[in-house]
Chain length 182, copies 2
DNA sequence: TATTGTTATACTCTATAACTATA
DNA sequence: TATAGTTATAGAGTATAACAATA
């Protein structure tokens, strides 16, 4: 087991607002820059909404994934979160140190761990989910009728950008921890 | 002048695609998570579109800002990009090392630098702008009619999230390098 | 021979704090 | 006293490479 997990989440960026009087040139026309501004604002707002619980959006996502897929391997967590294996290790270490998750032997593969939430982890996640849901609802409400359309458009955008980057999507069979290889 | 600027941009994250068979729970319902997935995809696609030029989205933004606002101070660059002063320093160092920007004395304040692009920087930016514009256009085209609505919605979302985080926007006068204090 | 998790290490990005020069 | 830039340092996140155990 590793010993290098970190203990404190930290807001990495300040507010990214248009500065009056500055000329942003092409940036103001780019979808990509609008996306960056929105994500920056949401990121800061996430920390405000979950203040005191010391959880980053990424760590929240990991908690949800382990909760909904008990017994999942670290490697699968890495794949789901777009991380290298070593990144999933650090993340798992951190969750374990918080007392929120634990590694158990995977009966089907002695090399692997099965990840599970502890009772403490489940309680924390319940609190977090409530805060994050409320936070998201507030945003949607602020957007009005276009909120749900925005979410669908974002999903489509992710798909379009991925297709552009990878003309042929990888045909690798995606295996979960519960389904045997084909 | 500092000596610690880095030389290589690096793609920090792998692909963040939904893994079939995994249960994402609340994540699939959250606007914030959809936004994260979209930004991840666009980030990777940006690197593909500008391959070989070794520029991150952030560095591209800095180039544009300095080009459109010649003589701007480092502190203003930091403010525009949501960075700490020390971050703007590193960024400026990097641009300078590439030979794309230079620091000149600011005639109005001996403490400050005025930032300017070099001829090399302007040529590089011209190339980059072309690639980035084409990249963005391709995304918009992939989105069809909803593309422009998406951009507007993202701008609104950034505003809503910022308003939520800061009920009272800071009344600090935003000064550029060309306008005297009120 | 390939995969899983681990260890060690390095690099990037960001921040804080203390410092210098100037306002 | 406050501001602009710098320096030094630290923390978090990510990656690569080599390794042991297992498949």
């Amino acid at each position: 087991m590793s010993k290098t997990a970190s203990s404190q989440a930290q807001v990495p960026e300040g507010l990214l607002l248009p500065v009056p009087g500055l000329d942003y040139g092409v940036l103001d026309e780019l979808l990509g820059y609008a996306l960056r501004r929105a994500q920056n604002a949401l990121y800061l707002d996430f920390y405000r909404a979950t203040e005191g619980l010391d959880v980053s959006p990424q760590r929240f996502a990991a908690l949800v994934l382990v909760a909904r897929n008990p017994g999942m391997r670290q490697g699968l967590l890495a794949q789901a979160m777009g991380l290298h294996r070593s990144g999933a290790l650090r993340l798992t270490d951190w969750l374990t140190e918080q007392g929120w998750a634990e590694r158990r032997d995977d009966p089907s593969d002695a090399r692997s761990w099965g990840l599970h939430l502890t009772a403490h982890g489940r309680r924390t996640l319940a609190k977090l989910e409530q805060l994050v849901r409320a936070h998201d609802q507030a945003l949607l409400q602020g957007l009005g009728e276009r909120g749900s359309a925005l979410k669908a458009d974002l999903e489509r955008l992710a798909w379009v950008a991925t297709a552009a980057a990878q003309p042929i999507p990888p045909a690798k069979p995606t295996k979960t921890d519960r389904r045997p290889k084909p």
